[in-house]
Amino acid sequence: MDLKPDERTMASTAEHPAHLQHHFVSSDQQFDAAKMGMWLFLITEILLFSGMFVAYTVYRVWHPEVFDGMAALLDWRLGGLNTLVLLASSFTVALGIHYAQVDNRKGLVTNLVLTFLFACIFLVVKYFEYSAKIEHGIVLGDGFAPHGVSHGVDYATYDVMFAQQFFSIYYVMTGIHGFHVLVGMGLFAWITVRAVKGHFTSAYYTPVELCGLYWHLVDIIWIFLFPLLYLI
């Protein structure tokens, strides 16, 4: 490896702590750079989703009756539950960052684990929503053929023109969002392990802060998806 730290950074003094990479002058510079990089990444995420929001808007304007009718099949109670779960997880991750800043390792770990669990709950709920639809032929793409009756819902009545497109948009948007939740779980598993090992202190908690930022974005996107798909 040619990333040879020079002598100054090898000495783990207060001025040049171990977490400081060789090409940065100070911890502040490193932290600011990392945070700015994360914000830029979040902007790219917003633009990634913006394409889908545009498609949603265009087709909603073109076929309002289809979007109105199909949204009835999405259970606002489950969507609402997931909204609460994600809001709670955003709170716990913010609390985790706070505990990292005050050197409270136990508080940090607890809140990271809670965030992870909330993400699990979100995906479990999503799993039940998806499977109830797939079971009745509401799938992504060409296999779309609603059929059967359960819980008083006659799925065959949803087999109308352009219904397939609505559910495509639903699956793609929530699917890509769900993928981000999954990635977030991986990130939280990773930083929880590091937190347990004591890698984070008030002097260095950059990864916690960055994962927190990411998680808030995942939350915010859901805040938009929920009303657009379930409520209106």
Partner: protein
Amino acid sequence: MSQVNYLNHDKSLKSWLFTLDHKRIGIMYLVAVSLSFLAGGILALLVRTELLGPGETIMSADAYNQSFTLHAVLMIFAFIIPAIPAVMGNFVLPIQLGAKDVAFPRLNLASFYIYLAGAAIALTALVVGRVDGGWTFYTPYSTSVGDGILFITAGVFVMGFSSILTGLNFIVTIHKMRAPGLTWNRLPLFIWSIYATSIVQVLATPVIGITMVLLFLERLLGIGIFDPALGGDPVLFQHFFWFYSHPAVYIMILPAFGIISDLMGTFSRQQVSGYKFVALSSVAIAFLGFLVWGHHMFVSGQSAVSSIIFSLITYLIGIPTGVKVINWVQTMYKGSVWLQTPMLYALMFLFTFSIGGFTGVMLGVLAVDVHLHDTYFVVAHFHYVMMGGNVIAALGGLHYWWPKMTGKMFNETLGRIAAVLVFIGFNVTFFPQFILGTRGMPRRYYDYLPEFTDLHVLSSLGSYILGVGLFLILGYLLHSLFRGKNAPANPWGALTLEWTHTTTPPDPHNFHETPIVTRGAYDYHLAPELFGGDGASGDGHGEEAEVSVPSGQATS
């Protein structure tokens, strides 16, 4: 090359493959990108050879369609977009900023491997199925013919990540890692243009990402977003595609502007005229570039009102671009112009890019565009901007920084001969295509009417001259690696940090101590030590060297 430098401090293969050094990553990009250019170039020569005469010449219509499609995909996604930012940006940008590395070295290495993976996935399409619809992947053709499209879209999606990560890295590096004293108004203009480019990369690329995902799913599963039978709209695909791909042409051309600015200042031995205007015009172009995508869609069926608005904003882009061209010419005025090979490319750029730019304004005129749409006129315009702009500038930059990258000087005589060959070959190839286009020759066609034969033959002959010129460059650059003279630290007498404060080739850490910047990138009047009139550097103004100016103090 006795001193320790980034090339010789560790020569193992592993030290290259896992390097976090921005300079080595830049070199690896250079190799990868050059291979893409070689492959794309050979395909172009095959296409031109096929067009030597009407009807079948060397290949079937099917092979021809696949050849021009692959030529375009390789050249655009695997060559032009990464070429200047990922090669020269990576190598030069941190040094010009006085930094030891980019802000996120691991991300930088990751972006290289992501690029390789994307290119590999895209090339898989060659083996598994045909792709022959051109690089724009318009639906419904792309969603109904051939399975290769699945791999191409996946490859473009993956390469997009690489582009985003590079742009993100550079923006943070420029904001957070400038050396003490390196204010925004002292930045080399190359940095300014890479900055503008990076903004476009970060903001536009995610949109092509999601477009490729949707196209992929449309082809694979039939999700109905772009399929009218299911309530979708193929024109929406065109909007999505151009929302990225128009800004993407600025990803291709803005870094070229930066190189030309650096070359003009350095080889004219003058402050670049209108520095702030040149710097901010890059940002203006990046901004306006997001608002003109509809000028690719004048005949797509979008509303007349949007066509008129898109047309007007397209004219606006001519203003910042004109600001640049005028200031480059002005920079040479009363300067000490030194006609070394890199400067020849800068002069060539003024000529070819201006033709490309002006024909772009012509195509922005609604009525004219309806006539010229999908003809060779568009092909010629595009190549005058992309090849006459980006590639010429990239060649200038490559010659300019070659001594710093490799520590070797190339053969100047051969360099000049090749530059002339490239210039002649390029113009002979593409100028006849403007005429062909106005006479009605449609782009992408395999066959043509007999009366177009002469101009087609001329164009093909030009492409062979161009090919000879480019292979000559490859030859003498490779030769210089083994037999070239050792390069001094600052062979061009430039004032930017990579020349004044590093050895040739640079140290693994770039600088032994962080430089402190006291003047702008082209403040020759503040640099008596370089403006020495020794005859060798060609400036010929010995008497000015006597005027010793204290550094940091501005004079007229």
